[in-house]
């Protein structure tokens, strides 16, 4: 396109030069003028087509919203205006000038002067003719008288008339006599017969003719009257050269007149020539200029487009370097500096990105630490609205705390005790405090929380953080440990004197039985028996304590719980309570991982407890169920007795907590200890009687581990 444009423009320029040369009346181009015009027109049309093609392309780009087409259009418009306006101005002025100057050539006065000059020449010739005619007539009269006509006579006549030639002719054009001033030119020019006849009829005519040498000749033809009636009529022809000076002047006037007439006739054509030439020049120049404007616009717009594209890319986040313009001007510098700027920006952003990633990683780490913290963390803003709560807090509180973010702490719909303690702590005990709380769970069990409150420094935005731990288990374990220690010591301290007491009592009986008789002897027997029995009971109790304190670690092995249960139940055949065993589902249950002896102990304790609870029941009944529950095995022993009193429920696993008059309160404590040592779980509930549920791990670890399921079960049971 570019090359085609350049070629067309160059061709147009050459053609235009030729056209201008031809217009300036160079003979070489005069004949080919129409062709030149046509070729120029074709060149202009070709340029127009090229420009139109480019315009259409630009317009299509503009419509399609191709980036940069607007800038190019504007540049093109401006450049074109710069070309078109002066061009049109020059064109208008030239047209006006040319056309009016052509018109100014044709002046009435010039016309009249030329006409006058021509008339002057004609009248000079006319007077010459008249003069010659008069002389010829005189000579003819003279000749008419003479009967004989000799050359000398004719010569004399010629000389008298001042003519160069004299010829006497017949009407038929036959030369009778001839006389010439020039010796070389003996043969005179014979006029046409019609002219001779005309001369005879009109008593002589005069005319101007062209001489052979290029000059003018004045001729007079006069009839010569004959002597006799039958004499042939004759014609006298006198010819005289018009003086060369007159001829030259007259001919120059004539040629000027002719040129003038020619111009006047060709006025329209002349105007057309000028108009065409000028218009073609204008069109060629304009189209070439617009074509050039395209190239310039593209050239000018390119660096700007690169820059604009670069800014767009930067805005979109692309910092790769752009192409630069290899120019030493400001635009080149601009593109270079733009590139370095984008590079710096890219570096800065990469750095910022890096920092952000680091911060995010740190934050994520902190968050995961916080989330996996078993302690509950609650964060509050300055007005005690909840900002964040970790997973531990939700687990401890047994609540998802949904919607608590919008409420202030004092308006919490649940956990009012905790809320109150937090508010009170911050209000009364300052920025840092610690407190142990006893709370009631939703299911009525007690929950011990260790709550620590800290006010955040004002620099970080302020607020409060409350960290709390569920220390219920901890307290229970502490109690249990304390009791274990006490039991161990008691056992040790008490057991030592028991044997001597028993031995002493038996010895007393042995020694004194023979010495006493009657009632005294009965008393002795009763008393010693009582001592021995009580010591025995005490020994058992101490052994229980020792056992509790010294429960060995379980030797874990797969145990068929159902078989074990059957085995144990053998001993309870004589139990007054009907014992029903449910196994659901009926399919074979997998073995559990447990110590069979300890498990036996557990079963005995639980069954004894149930049996003891049923002493006053009308229809005592114990039901046992075995079921698989989420990867563990659940054993539930239920009786229809009075159930656990509420105050006992939360502390039933502590030693010496009992409802029985004679119990040591160690039964459930031992059960709890053993179950805990097995990694199992135990829960007590009241469900139309006492209910004990024990979960034990399976011998084969299940494919998918799951969290403790006892909670939901307990809740369902409690309900």
């Amino acid at each position: 396109m570019r090359i085609a444009l350049a070629v067309a423009a160059a061709l147009g320029a050459i053609l235009l030069y030729l056209l201008a040369s031809a217009s300036a009346n160079t003979a070489l181009f005069a004949q080919n003028y129409p062709w030149l015009l046509a070729i120029n027109g074709i060149a202009a049309a070709a340029l127009l087509v090229l420009v139109a093609l480019q315009l259409r392309q630009l317009r299509r780009d503009f419509r399609a919203g191709v980036f940069g087409s607007r800038l190019k259009s504007r540049l093109l418009l401006m450049l074109s205006l710069m070309a078109v306006l002066p061009g049109a101005l020059v064109y208008a002025v030239s047209m006006q000038f040319a056309v009016s100057s052509i018109d100014s050539w044709f002046d009435v006065r010039v016309d009249a002067a030329l006409e006058g000059g021509l008339n002057l020449g004609r009248s000079v010739l006319d007077s010459q003719q008249a003069d010659l005619l008069a002389k010829a007539r005189g000579a003819a009269l003279d000749l008419g008288d003479a009967t004989l006509l000799g050359p000398t006579r004719l010569n004399r006549i010629r000389e008298q008339a001042g003519a160069q030639g004299a010829v006497l002719l017949t009407l038929g054009g036959q030369v009778l006599a001839s006389s010439s001033a020039e010796l070389g030119n003996l043969m005179p020019v014979i006029p046409a017969p019609s002219l001779l006849r005309q001369a005879r009829a009109s008593r002589g005519i005069a005319q101007t003719a062209f001489a052979d040498g290029g000059g003018l000749l004045v001729r007079a033809l006069v009839p010569v009257a004959g002597n006799g009636l039958n004499a042939d009529p004759r014609i006298l022809l006198l010819s005289k050269e018009v003086p060369p000076s007159i001829v030259d002047s007259a001919q120059s006037v004539e040629s000027a007149h002719r040129d003038y007439q020619e111009l006047q006739l060709g006025r329209k054509g002349l105007k057309q020539i000028y108009t065409l030439t000028l218009t073609l020049a204008l069109l060629l120049a304009l189209f070439a200029a617009i074509g050039l404007a395209f190239l310039l616009a593209e050239r000018l717009a390119r660096p700007l487009l690169i820059l604009a594209e670069g800014t767009r890319a930067v805005a979109a986040g692309d910092f790769t370097p752009r192409a630069t313009v290899e120019a030493s001007d400001e635009l080149g510098v601009l593109t270079h500096s733009f590139n370095s700027m984008t590079q710096q920006l890219g570096d800065a952003r990469a750095q910022a990105e890096h920092h952000r990633a680091e911060t995010e990683a740190a934050q994520a780490y902190l968050e995961s630490v916080l989330a996996n913290l078993s302690a509950g963390v609650l964060a509050f803003d300055l007005r005690f609205r909840l900002r964040a709560a970790n997973r531990g807090a939700l687990a401890i509180l047994g609540d998802d705390l949904a919607g608590f973010e919008q409420q202030r702490l004092e308006d919490w719909p649940r956990h009012e005790a905790l809320a109150g303690a937090i508010l009170e702590g911050f209000a009364k005990r300052g920025a840092e405090w610690q407190e142990q709380l006893e709370l009631a769970r939703a299911d009525g069990t007690a929950q011990a929380l260790l709550v620590r409150g800290t006010a955040l420094p004002a620099g970080g935005g302020g607020g409060y953080v409350v960290v709390f731990d569920d220390i219920t288990q901890l307290i229970a374990a502490q109690r249990s440990a304390a009791w274990g220690e006490v039991a161990r010591r008691l056992a040790h301290e008490i057991k030592n004197p028991l044997t001597p007491i028993q031995l002493s009592a038996e010895r007393l009986q042995l020694k004194l039985a023979d010495q006493l008789s009657g009632p005294s002897r009965d008393l002795l027997d009763r008393a010693t028996q009582t001592i021995v029995n009580q010591v025995e009971a005490m020994k058992n109790m101490v052994n229980d304590f020792r056992d509790y304190a010294r429960t060995p670690l379980p030797q874990l092995a797969p145990v068929e719980l159902a078989a074990l249960l059957d085995d144990v139940l053998e001993l309870y055949h004589r139990s007054p309570a009907a014992i029903a065993v449910e196994r659901a589902p009926t399919s074979a249950l997998p073995p559990v991982l447990a110590d069979a002896n300890q498990l036996r102990q557990v079963l005995h304790n639980v069954l004894t407890n149930a049996q003891d609870a049923l002493t006053e029941a009308a229809v005592p009944k114990i039901s046992i169920s075995l079921a698989r529950d989420a990867g563990r095995l659940r054993l539930t022993v239920r009786d229809n007795g009075p159930g656990f009193p509420p105050q006992i429920l939360s502390r039933a696993f502590e030693p010496y907590v009992t409802t029985k008059a004679k119990g040591t309160g160690l039964g459930l404590a031992i059960v709890k200890k053993i179950v805990d040592d097995h990694g199992g779980q135990i829960r007590l509930a009241n469900d139309g009687g006492g209910e004990v549920s024990i979960w034990l791990p399976l011998a084969v670890a299940p494919a998918q581990g799951s969290g403790p399921q006892g909670g939901s079960e307990a809740e369902r049971d409690a309900a």
Binding site: Q31, L265, G266, G269, L280
Partner: protein, 180 residues
């Protein structure tokens, strides 16, 4: 674009014409001579131009060819003759020139009549044509537009009044058998 503009401006003046009326080849002593007659009508604008002194040039073209079967015609003879018709306003005479030969006429009509009658113009030598052979001849008298003044040339592109249609007369000519 410009041409279209000019076409609209074209004057309605009628175009002139030069129509051949009759033409004949005559064997003579030295060779064949052409005689022809044309009807010359220059049209009002060209007549006006001549009367104002603008010289007009005419070309007489004569072509003689021998027809051949299955092949282009054999070219025998081309004869061209240029005429110049001019008006001398000084002497008030029309002048018809052919080469060095000048003829003067008092009126344009006489001059045109002289132009339209061509008599005994030698065109071919005796032995250029074979006896008894048939030839194709064509003759045309036309206005030479390229010799018009330049403004007229531009005008003549569109102006019918400055155009002269020239007709061509073709005829078959059989060379007579020479009586020996």
């Amino acid at each position: 674009m410009l041409a279209a503009l000019l076409l609209f401006c074209a004057a309605a003046a009628h175009a002139g014409s030069i129509e051949p009326k009759a033409a004949a080849l005559t064997p003579g002593e030295d060779g064949y001579t052409l005689s022809a007659e044309f009807v010359v009508d220059l049209g009002s604008r060209l007549e006006d131009a001549v009367a104002r002194g603008v010289p007009l040039y005419f070309n007489l073209e004569f072509i003689l060819e021998r027809g051949r079967k299955y092949w282009v015609n054999e070219h025998i003879v081309t004869r061209g003759l240029g005429y110049r018709l001019a008006y001398s306003s000084l002497t008030r005479q029309f002048r018809l020139s052919t080469g060095n030969l000048h003829r003067n006429f008092a009126s344009l009509g006489e001059a045109l009549r002289a132009l339209s009658r061509i008599a005994a113009l030698p065109v071919a030598a005796k032995d250029a044509l074979k006896d008894g052979e048939t030839y194709e001849a064509a003759v045309r008298l036309s206005l030479d537009r390229s010799q018009l003044p330049k403004p007229f040339q531009v005008d003549a592109i569109t102006d019918k009044g400055l155009q002269v249609d020239a007709g061509i007369l073709r005829w078959r000519f059989t060379a007579p058998l020479e009586a020996k």
